[in-house]
Symmetry: C3
Subunit: 181 residues, 3 copies
């Protein structure tokens, strides 16, 4: 009988281990929105979690991908539609608008000014901190294809990956926290 | 003492079982938004998860319920307010607007055109795939009542259910992934 | 050997306990949005969960903080920017707009009227119910500082706390449900 107990015990242990992968909690976040305020929230949560020892994977999709564009890069050879989207979407994280109170730019400018005065970190700084802390960023290939963005247009970020929804779901399944922003 | 060990073991087993219901991971999703881009994201995530063997329950509420209207159905006997809401809200998933860049219809039309060209699945196709894969759809009764929608106005979908917030919460409690879209 | 079994058993028990803190499920919710419809959803989910025996912690941040302002309170000594934000942001939960169909106030007024007719609880009532049921509300200090809100401007609510993102993450890590609204 003691063998039976040991077998059951080992079986249970395995199950418990599987429930806490690596023993480290993980946060999976879909960054769907492309507005300044939502991006700020996403990056503050991501860097905060990482600072607390939580693994963080961000999956940028749809409007979120536009926030990852590197403003200084210009890529040729795009078809008409891709050019149109390229012009209409904000070029990188310094061109994002507030989701509320944008007011033809005045609200957004006020908010940025205020953040500087209060010493709140800017999006630029938050991406830098994220890179230093090891927040993983993955970009949705389908969204990039749809909007006509090319890989070389994306910001330089350590280990930036391009992937599909399956990759996000595989991460989300073994995460203890998931957020859609 | 061995009896004590067995009792403790069986107790633990029960607790572990309760933590992983059925052994199969589950995704519970609140579809609150009624915009084309958000609906696309919701359906791509739902069908993707289902394809990976994850149980999926979608709970359509507020603006999301308007996306589930069957355009060809007209129901009479509505009071004035319900008629007003019926007119103002998009009639079904082919009338939804983008949350960004709708631009009086041009942006939304461009996006739909682009999706066709890139062979990305349309919302119609995604709902069909969802039905085939067994994504469960539940509709918030309170929202339907508020906006004056009747059950016969909703799309035909296998095992479509009408329920309240308690049903969602019961599902969410035993899910490993929850999203609010 | 029986000692070894007991040690392993006790170790496992501890791990399982840690996975279900207090044995009670918990919902952590970020209330980022400040629109009437989103606030309604947040409060209906929160009170519903609490009624089902789930612990609920709401973390109000960004636009969500404006919804927590007490309309009757006026605080002096603010700098110019804080005054501007104070004027532009909705003053408390009775001034919130719908995220869709606001239509210069007509849509929002219609929705409120409809809710009264259908006996759906108002935001005022939902906050009262939340307080009675013991929904915990925490307010993001960084957002308050950014928008120039002072503590005495916030609504009276039992055990209202002011905190940072780390507090939310600590709650979220040990929650079985997390939502970003």
């Amino acid at each position: 009988m003691s063998i039976d107990v040991e077998a059951q015990l080992s079986d249970l242990k395995q199950k418990v281990e599987n429930m806490q992968p690596g023993g480290e909690p993980k946060l999976s976040m879909i960054v769907f929105s492309g507005e300044l305020d939502k991006l700020l929230a996403a990056m503050i949560i991501a860097t905060g979690a990482r600072a607390m020892g939580v693994q963080v994977v961000q999956f940028f999709t749809f409007w979120g991908t536009a926030a990852l564009r590197e403003p200084s890069v210009n890529v040729g050879g795009k078809d008409f539609m891709s050019k149109m989207f390229g012009w209409m979407l904000p070029k990188g994280r310094n061109k994002l608008k507030l989701s509320n109170m944008h007011m033809a730019g005045m609200g957004t400018a006020m908010m940025k000014d205020l953040m500087r005065k209060k010493n709140a970190p800017s999006l630029d700084q938050l991406f830098e901190i994220a890179a230093q802390l090891g927040v993983q960023i993955k970009v949705c290939e389908m969204s990039m294809d749809l909007m006509g963005f090319k890989r070389e247009e994306m910001i330089e970020y350590p280990n930036l990956e391009f992937c599909g929804v399956a990759t996000f779901l595989a991460e989300a399944k073994e995460s203890s926290i998931q957020l859609f922003i």
